[in-house]
Symmetry: C2
Subunit: 472 residues, 2 copies
């Protein structure tokens, strides 16, 4: 954490206000432009250092309609949700500004300071590192992140506690912390020293300088709207396409065996997912007509619809396009959802969006790491991610398309676009190969399933789920 | 509750599927049209009657991408949130279908059946009536609501419990109910008899008939997309415009008195709001430059920004326009927010939207009752609503506009549109008068504050808040 104080000059209040408002409007006007961005301000610090007052003063200088402030009580970090899950929905859209009093650092400090069960240092550092990585992903996706620590010396803090109106006292026991305890004050100061060095530290001693420094920090951030990167500076290494994608082997299974096995396996999958204390996320990708829908149907065969959620992912909505690419998945995954199945997923970024040019080179190339971090965060929050690529041969796809066209209740499944996509067949195989190369991790490996024979594919999928859950 | 069984004929599965899919696509195509609607399906009933299976079968017949299913554990009704708050965000946009397993009736039954603390009948009936009214408001706003009760006789239920796979048993103790208890079975049947008569009752005895009746019910609802009402059939009675709006009295207060009083009152308001166990919602409406922003600033003077939320309400976003008008307020009000201030509010419907023609006659005329019900639900959920109309004279407004134009950091507050709005001055006064007439209720009365003298207006607002909170 940087300890040197930021140098700055006081600006006349009216002038500062005009500058801030101009910058707000300029930010708003970036929406949909090449330099569009939004701004998240994470506010933390020592109690009574004046973070509340500084935000209030900022709100008076700016146009308050375009500055949202959100404050929730700290939620202790726990094993069943990622640190970003409680805040994902507050990530602002292009052109917007969001001040978060309650944020992942509030939760981290509150957890680390827990009297009965303090967090060990290596775990603390691990979280700090994950948070920093998450913020970098936000920045790369045009959500600028400013982190401000309002500081106050022990002596000044005690003086302010002496002077405070008793009716306001309850605020100063937030996080269950006792600010009269020197030991605790020192502990929290020691912890924040372990933060990364991209924090702005504001001394809360002098009110005017405090408010000005805070507002000027925001101003500088608002005024800095660089154009988005569209090219990558790395040379892209294509992965080689696995044999199974080129020529999916066809292993047939006879009907009786299939029926018996299906019954047994679907029940086993249902029981295993129920009994597992982790959440289960199952992802399906693959060519059109490869059998995603049919496979999902067999997975949920013995599960009550109240136990699972299926998300069918299509093109993003406009309000989703104004946020980081993964945002619509951050907000779809709820910690209380036990079983979630994705019929297409966040991998759209490196498949259809890459191929059709909806994502530029910089965007899809950096998406692999973003996705890996996203999945790792989920895995650390007691979630098993099981990823399937359904591999079909080009001939089998053509014959399924024809059946769809001839069957009235399947006709909705087939459009001209599906036929057009076949022209990009090799591009999709290449994109799939690159995806396996970059996102098949130990905790969330890809499973490629040959699906020319639907029945054996379905059985194999069920068996794979059991295996990934540590059974069978 | 209707006891007669619905007459229906079985349809061949493929044919039913085609019809459902066609109807889904037709519904989707209504988006933005004069007959646009969405559909909410509330699924309740006796355990093991097969509601899960019927929904699963429906999902196989339709295009699953356009049918969302949501199931949450029941949340006991409680004093601190309205029955619709947990579900507001799941109300679908035009063209969408949402099946809610967990819904306000699940919560009601679960609360009423609570072993230690059952709900009395009059309270039960009161909730049923409020829910029916809420659903009617949804329907008027083009969200069709279908309520389905899956029924099963005591004998069949016991037989199914005998036959069930032990691994699935835990589902049948949902709501904490014991389906082996005859007493409890009878109690729940007695309660659902008290529901309104607009439920569809499906007998779960025969699986095929059950699934078909459910799917055909949905099909009929999908196929019925009448054009929206745009005219009202009632003759509109204009209210007379109160003197205070025509000529707001100007009571000046000297500077010293103002400062002393402001200090005292703002502290008292802060303390009182904090100590009150209810949530506080404060609404500001009034002409441009009437002093809403300045008044809000004084209310929060002694309150930490973490304790309150300010919503500045402008034109709705596209995704909000595709839902009932009040939806964006349902979802903004969170039970955990202690103090919420609205700088403009849901009253936009009967003010700017009425005057500018953004809402048609049917819409704004029915909005008064919708708003009253909305506010009553909040009041019953331990929320105090304090509503202010800030009344300014036309001359004072003009002089404030001129000051704004000449002050650099206030210039953003004034646009050509503000000047144009002055041409509709009388229309706004009339709309305000009608609004007072129809929405000033015992629990949430309007307070009209003359604001030509800003300082006395601010003091009066603070005093009014104290009074509404039962102090001073």
């Amino acid at each position: 954490m940087a300890t040197e104080k930021q140098q700055f000059q006081l600006i006349a209040e009216d002038e500062l206000s005009v500058k801030l408002i101009d910058a707000q409007y300029a930010l708003k006007d970036t929406r949909g432009q090449k330099n569009a961005k939004s701004l998240v301000v994470l506010v933390n610090g020592i109690e009574l250092a004046g973070k509340g007052e500084a935000v209030k003063q900022l709100r008076e200088w700016v146009d308050p309609r375009y500055l949202r402030v959100k404050a929730d009580r700290p939620q202790p970090l726990n094993e069943s949700q990622t640190f970003w899950q409680p805040y994902a929905r507050f990530i602002p859209a292009e052109g917007q500004i969001m001040v978060l009093f309650g944020n992942w650092y509030t939760d981290l400090l509150s957890t680390a300071m827990h009297v009965a069960n303090p967090m060990d240092e290596s775990m603390f550092d691990h979280y700090v590192e994950r948070m920093r990585a998450f913020e970098q992903d936000l920045k790369n996706n045009h959500v600028d992140v400013i982190k401000v620590w309002f500081d106050l010396s022990w002596k000044s803090l005690q003086k302010r506690l002496d002077d405070i109106d008793p009716s306001e006292m309850h605020w100063h026991r937030l996080h269950g912390l006792d600010w009269r305890s020197r030991k605790q004050y020192d502990a929290i100061q020691r912890l924040r020293q372990r933060f990364t060095d991209d924090w702005i530290i504001i001394d809360g001693e002098d009110e005017t300088r405090r408010d000005q420094q805070f507002a000027q920090t925001i101003l500088a951030a608002l005024e800095h709207c660089p154009e988005h990167l569209t090219e990558s500076n790395k040379k892209w290494q294509q992965a080689s396409i696995p044999e199974i994608l080129q020529q999916p082997p066809q292993e047939e299974v006879d009907k009786t065996t299939y029926k018996d096995e299906l019954k047994k396996l679907s029940q086993q999958v249902a029981n295993t997912m129920r009994m597992d204390r982790r959440n289960v996320v199952i992802v399906f990708e693959g060519m059109d007509a490869a059998g995603k829908g049919g496979a999902i149907k067999r997975i949920v065969k013995k599960i009550d619809p109240r136990e699972y959620e299926i998300h069918t992912i299509g093109a993003p909505e406009k309000y989703e396009l104004r946020r980081p690419y993964l945002w619509r998945f951050w907000t779809k995954l709820q910690p209380e959802d036990k079983i979630t199945i994705f019929d297409r997923s966040w991998y759209g970024r490196v498949l259809v969006e890459r191929i059709e040019g909806f994502a530029n080179v910089a965007e899809w190339q950096r998406a692999y790491d973003e996705i890996n971090r996203f999945e790792q965060d989920l895995c650390e929050a007691q979630t098993v991610i099981i990823k399937f690529w359904l591999a079909i041969s080009k001939e089998e796809q053509a014959s399924r398309f024809k059946v769809r066209e001839q069957t009235p209740h399947k006709r909705f499944k087939i459009t001209d676009e599906d036929w057009r996509n076949r022209e990009r067949w090799e591009d999709y195989l290449q994109a799939a190969a690159d995806m396996f190369e970059h996102t098949s991790t130990d905790s969330a490996p890809w499973h490629v399933i040959a699906t020319d024979d639907k029945n054996s594919a379905r059985l194999q999928i069920l068996k794979t789920i059991l295996k990934q859950l540590g059974v069978g």
